[in-house]
């Protein structure tokens, strides 16, 4: 990456979103630099998922702007943002339940290969789709489950597949909404090992509850409370901040 750190990969400016009386995003501004893992933390209901949704384009903000690679994408529909390389995973597993694990990943690969107005060749026998899909499944440790339907996978495996799809879709910015939610210790550790090498390669906005994970992975951390940004800083700065401790870390244990 030759991009200077001054040009952020993603820039969120004064993002606001209300649901009736609930302010889910309150003048939210932060930036993700190229190649960094930027953690987004905050108590339940702080507005993390809503923020991700507005960045991915699935939720329309009431006000504010979203810029990606210097380009204003506030009005761009989701699929166009995805085509620019902005990909997400979901807190609540969001897969294709009638398909196999391999089908799911292959579909993510297919999305990267131009238009799909191809009516004749059998997609399931298309090596251009299946080979990369198999590779990602191997990387994520799901190779032996490739032919199983999503509904036959254990919860942890579905979470892994959720990430596999995001990875297979060649993101330049990855929005990960609690990727380790509901995972066991060893599964979480495996996923951390998957994410760590991405540092410096792509930008990651990581919503995560587990503070050990955040402090182990993140380059910078933004803290959300009631839709508003409390602070952005290094893990160390965030950990030492009295206000953060009071608002968030304090009620962790």
């Amino acid at each position: 990456m030759t991009r200077t750190p001054e040009v952020p990969l993603l820039e969120v400016v004064d993002l606001s979103k209300s649901y009736g009386a609930v302010v889910a995003s309150d003048n939210l501004s932060f930036a993700v630099r190229p190649g960094e893992i930027h953690a987004l933390i905050g108590p339940n209901g702080a507005g993390k998922t809503t923020a991700i949704g507005q960045i991915s384009g699935e939720i329309r903000p009431s006000a504010g702007r979203v810029r990606f690679q210097g380009r204003d994408i506030t009005r761009l529909p989701t699929h166009k943002r995805a085509q620019l390389g902005l990909k997400r995973s979901y807190q609540i597993t969001s897969l294709f339940p009638e398909f196999t694990a391999e089908d799911n990943v292959a579909l993510a690969v297919q999305a990267q290969q131009g238009h799909s107005f191809r009516f004749w060749t059998r997609a399931r026998r298309d090596a251009a789709l299946r080979a990369p899909a198999t590779q990602v499944l191997e990387r994520i440790g799901l190779a032996d489950k490739a032919k199983l339907k999503v509904t036959e996978l254990a919860h942890g495996e579905q979470r892994q597949l959720e990430l596999a799809m995001a990875l297979a879709s060649e993101p330049s910015l990855l929005l990960l909404d609690e990727p380790m939610a509901g995972m066991g210790q060893s599964e979480s550790r495996a996923m951390m090992d998957l994410l760590r090498p991405l540092k410096g390669q792509i930008g990651i906005l990581l919503v995560e509850h587990d503070m050990d994970v955040v402090f182990a992975l993140a380059d910078r951390v933004s803290v959300l409370v009631k839709g508003a940004l409390l602070m952005t800083g290094t893990p160390q700065q965030v950990r030492d901040d009295p206000e953060v401790r009071r608002a968030y870390l304090g009620d962790e244990d």
Binding site: H79, A82, E98, L107
Partner: protein, 331 residues
């Protein structure tokens, strides 16, 4: 697949054999009209298979599919009408007195119903769920009332065709030849759709059915793919309509009535949604039940209703699933 004698292969093989030997068998049994009944079943099977592509695979609950069936039929009917009268088709910007040739009529029927599907789909697919069901229904009913109010083409009474399409060297008046033509077209259509649902395009519309939000998040412009599928399905129904016009030598607004759309949908559900071949069985089941029950009671719908509920509740993949088990047509 690879030549193994699976339950599915047996069912498909038997079905094909029955379909191929049906006309001589019917004649031998002294019931030649069965060939005519079977032709009707095959025609509706084409319509039902086309609906299954968008309903069973694409998750688009279109309740107006008969509109495209009717447009296909009217295209043939109108071309035939003017060719016979020697009059000029009034709504065209150039002078054309229609045609009796199937080589002109059938491709045009497919094209025109495809165009209507493109326009109706473009508007309907902006909505979701119940709204989509209602708006497709509304468009079909609009076309139904439009044809009723058009005296040029018979209005409510429809148009009697003076002849069947000419398709040399075939003679469509010959019930056998008509039957085999319909069978070949159905098999061709099935083969094409089998390729389609397993292609990249097919995976996209199947993905849209299961989780459209995720498809968008992956970068698919889902609307375009659904619209293309909707248009292709409309073209299939148009072909069925063109055949139906020839079969009954009549076209009328009832071909587009919402009850007709309902029937086609019932065929898909009965036969097995998302099984491609199931709707052929569904068409056979429904139309045969209709034939038989109609002779027993005029309230045959009362028998059909519970049967349908039974199928929906206990055989999720319909008659087809019940026959072939878990097997799918996935590659």
């Amino acid at each position: 697949m690879e030549g193994r004698l699976t339950r599915r292969a047996v069912v498909h093989g038997l079905a094909l054999i029955i379909l191929v030997v049906l006309p001589p068998l019917a004649d031998a049994a002294g019931e030649p009209f069965l060939t005519t009944v079977a032709s009707r079943i095959l025609i509706y099977a084409i319509a039902a298979v086309s609906l299954d592509v968008i309903l069973g695979y694409g998750g688009m609950v279109s309740f107006g599919h008969a509109a495209f069936f009717g447009i296909g039929a009217y295209t043939v009917g109108i071309l035939m009408h003017h060719a016979f009268d020697g009059t000029v088709i009034p709504f065209l910007p150039w002078d054309w007195t229609g045609s009796v040739s199937a080589f002109v009529q059938f491709p045009l029927a497919i094209l025109v119903s495809g165009l209507f599907a493109l326009v109706i789909g473009a508007l309907s697919l902006r909505t979701q769920g119940v709204y989509f069901i209602m708006i497709t229904l509304a468009f079909a009913q609009m076309l139904y009332y439009f044809m009723i109010s058009l005296p040029t083409y018979g209005g409510e009474d429809g148009l009697n065709l003076w002849e069947r399409s000419s398709l040399p060297p075939l003679d469509l008046y010959d019930e056998w030849q008509f039957y085999y033509l319909t069978l070949v077209l159905l098999l061709l259509f099935l083969a094409l759709m089998q390729r389609l649902v397993n292609s990249r395009f097919g995976m996209v519309i199947r993905g849209c059915k299961q989780n459209e939000a995720r498809m968008k998040a992956l970068g698919f412009a889902t609307y375009r793919y659904k619209l293309a599928a909707f248009t292709i399905a409309g073209m299939g129904a148009g072909l069925a309509g063109a055949l139906a016009a020839n079969h009954t030598e009549f076209v009328g607004p009832d071909m587009m009535h919402w009850t007709r759309s309902g029937e086609i949908m019932i065929m898909v559900i009965l036969g097995g949604m998302g099984t491609l071949y199931g709707p052929v069985l569904g068409a056979a089941t429904l139309l045969l039940m209709e034939e038989v029950l109609q002779q027993i009671t005029e309230h045959w719908m009362v028998v059909l209703g519970p049967f349908l509920v039974f199928v929906v509740l206990f055989a999720r993949r319909g008659v087809y699933g019940w026959l072939v088990g878990k097997a799918t047509d996935d590659d």
